[in-house]
Amino acid sequence: MPLSAYLTLAAVLFAVGFFGVVTRRNTVGILLGIELMLNAVNINLVAFARYNADIVGMLFTSFTIPITVAEVALGLAIVILMFRMKRTAVADHLDILKG
């Protein structure tokens, strides 16, 4: 398979994830979209690493995956905290930044 195939796959996945981020009303749903986008990035990195015979891409990925995990954990912690405060999961209602 040419490299472009993998990159295309990653691009499509990224777009789908992005669509999820901007359309979902539930905060957790938004986080799921973010997951997809990060996933796409990982695919990109690994594909480049393989086709350029450079290990650094995979190294990068092995860092991003744990970081993503940490980020998800923290994000959900925040979501739970928001729930406690506002009693809602709907992202539309989380508009404290409004200005």
Partner: protein, 615 residues
């Protein structure tokens, strides 16, 4: 000393110093009488300096100028400031200083009832005026002259409107300012055009240009006409004369100073100063002569129907200014200038005398006076001396100069103006003696004012009166035996004719108002149309008001509309759009992170497009 410029400069700076001190040191100014004494003292000093300058100037016969360069430009200084002292300017300087000093002394008595701060304000203005007028007289170039011209106009406004709580006074001050301003615009245009033509503002340089024949003639007529416009604004020539009668709302000493002897003569003085320029444009000279004679006659007619003593004198001033202008237009500026000097003396005398009468009786209306000859003998004597001078009776001040003017108009080839001036002389004698007979002779009439007991003026007012009377009479006697050589051939029949005409006027006034042989009513009926028109001031004021109201107010309303709806409208529309845009854009800041992601994505897209557009 041989340099007349130094004392001239001192004479100029003394009243300036008085003004600055009074303007800056407010407590002194508000104290009233001390401020007055300061101003009078400085005015006396200025008079002494002016006399010294005259003595030197007439002895040396030359001129001298002290100049300091001003407004530096790349091509050298644009103009200069300083003094140009020669025979004419020294004479004028003395006149200004003398009348200024006498009027200030007189005002000590006339305005003795004024509250102290107002009195201080009055003397501040008086000093400023003295400085401005002297600066005008001594100006070496058009720029300084114009600046002082405007300053003089400002002082006129301030002093006419001295009693500004009175609406008539305020209106009169504004009217004077407006109308002279109209002339001044023409004057400024003329100055600028002249500079474009000749490249300089300086009088001496312009004079040498003219004499050496290097003055370009193209468009010079326009220039001189524009300058004449300025002169006729200040010197109340038709149709700009309408501000002078209304200016009588100011205190009488102000009228004596500004509207008899000095400011109104500035126009005449200007033309005298620059007559060599006007000689190059004979057409404009013709206009000056005819308009001058017409003004003289018109004002004389108007003076015949006035009942306010000051108004009579105001129209008389307009008339005499017309005489001066006629002489200049005829080509003999020295005759006009001589009359300026003599007129300055006796008109100031008449005004101050009228002031004494008003101060004593409490009214300006001559028909409420009467029989004052017995109650105020001194005032009567000096007033009659002034009247005889004005009427042009031999051995009195105005005789010789008026005759010179009549001769000049004839010699210059203006028979029409000559005739008008002759009729004017008849009327002058008539209306002045009308006033004399009604006011001083006859039986006391009307209310003499409840608390007023007519009596002669106090010393501070009487002294200037006597000085002026002596000067007027003295000049008359002097000229009878020695007079400056005329520039033209005096015709033999001129002098007797002039005297006869004056005597005829006096006789008519005597018959009508003293002996009541001819009734005033029948005289009035005989001249009804003219009389009615004269009472309406020939509708000139109404014309001006109409033009002003119609033209200017319409214009200003139009401009106002444009300003409100177009200029402001554009701004208002823009601001409304901005508010609307802000309102809509506010929704961008929804506070929802999801929406911000939109923004980020859009931005990234745009960046991608931008960097890779020509793919």
């Amino acid at each position: 000393m041989t340099d007349p410029a130094l004392p001239a400069l001192i004479a100029l700076l003394l009243p300036a110093g008085a003004f600055v001190i009074l303007a800056v040191v407010a407590p002194l100014r508000r104290s009233g009488r001390p401020a007055a004494y300061l101003s009078v003292l400085f005015a006396a000093g200025a008079l002494a300096a002016a006399l010294a300058s005259l003595r030197v100037a007439s002895a040396s016969g030359g001129f001298s100028s002290w100049l300091w360069a001003w407004i530096p430009t790349e091509a050298g200084p644009l103009t200069s400031v300083g003094v140009l002292a020669d025979g004419d300017s020294a004479l004028m300087l003395v006149l200004v200083a003398l009348v200024s000093f006498l009027v200030q002394v007189y005002s000590l008595g006339y305005l003795s009832d004024e509250p102290a701060p107002s009195l201080g304000r009055y003397y501040t203005y008086q000093s400023l005026f003295a400085f401005s007028m002297m600066g005008l007289v001594l100006a070496p170039n058009f720029v300084q002259l114009f600046i002082n011209w405007e300053l003089v106009g400002l002082c006129s406004y301030l002093l006419i409107g001295y009693w500004y709580p009175r609406p008539e006074a305020a209106r009169a001050a504004v009217k004077a300012f407006w109308i002279t301003k109209a002339g001044d615009v023409g004057f400024l245009i003329g100055i600028v055009l002249l500079w474009r033509q000749a490249g300089t503002f300086d009088f001496l340089e312009l004079l040498s240009l003219t004499e050496s024949g290097l003055m370009p003639l193209a468009g010079l007529g326009v220039i001189t006409f524009c300058i004449y416009l300025g002169a006729s604004g200040k010197s109340a020539q038709f149709p700009f004369h309408i501000w002078l009668p209304d200016a009588m709302e100011g205190p009488t000493p102000v009228s004596a100073l500004i509207h008899a002897a000095t400011m109104v003569t500035a126009g005449v003085y200007l033309l005298t100063r620059t007559v060599w320029l006007f000689r190059l444009t004979p057409d404009v000279m013709q206009i000056i002569a005819w308009n001058g004679a017409f003004t003289a006659l018109l004002a004389a007619v108007l003076a015949c129907v006035q009942t306010d003593i000051k108004r009579v004198l105001a129209y008389s001033t307009v008339s005499q200014l017309g005489y001066m202008m006629a002489a200049i237009g005829a080509g003999f500026a020295s005759a006009g200038f001589l009359h300026l000097l003599t007129h300055g003396i006796f008109k100031a005398l008449l005004f101050l005398g009228a002031g004494a009468v008003i101060h004593a009786v409490g009214t300006n209306d001559i028909f409420q006076m009467g029989g004052l000859g017995r109650k105020m003998p001194q005032t009567t004597i000096v007033f009659v001396v002034g009247t005889l001078s004005l009427a042009g009776i031999p051995f009195f001040g105005g005789f010789f100069s008026k005759e010179e003017i009549l001769g000049a108009t004839l010699a210059g080839g203006f028979p029409g103006p000559f005739a008008m001036l002759l009729v004017g002389a008849f009327l002058t004698a008539f209306y002045m003696f009308r006033v004399v007979f009604i006011t001083f002779a006859g039986a006391p009439a009307g209310a003499h004012g409840h608390e007023h007991h007519p009596h002669d003026a106090p010393f501070s007012m009487a002294l200037p009166l006597w000085i002026l009377a002596v000067l007027s009479l003295g000049a008359g006697i002097l000229f009878a035996f020695w007079h400056p050589k005329a520039e033209f051939e005096t015709l033999g029949w001129l002098t007797p004719t002039a005297v006869l005409v004056a005597l005829a006027g006096i006789a008519l006034a005597y018959l009508v108002y003293q002996r009541r042989v001819i009734s005033a009513e029948s005289l009035a009926r005989a001249f009804t149309p003219i009389r009615v028109a004269a009472l309406r001031r020939f509708w000139l004021d109404d014309l001006f008001a109409f033009v002003y109201r119609g033209l200017m107010l319409t214009l200003s309303r139009l401009v106002g509309w444009i300003d409100r709806y177009l200029v402001d409208g554009v701004l208002n529309v823009l601001s409304a759009w901005t508010l609307m845009a802000g309102d809509r854009l506010r929704h961008l800041q929804s506070g929802r992170a999801q929406d911000y992601v939109y923004g980020i994505a859009l931005g990234v897209l745009l960046l991608m497009l931008w960097t890779r557009w020509p793919r």
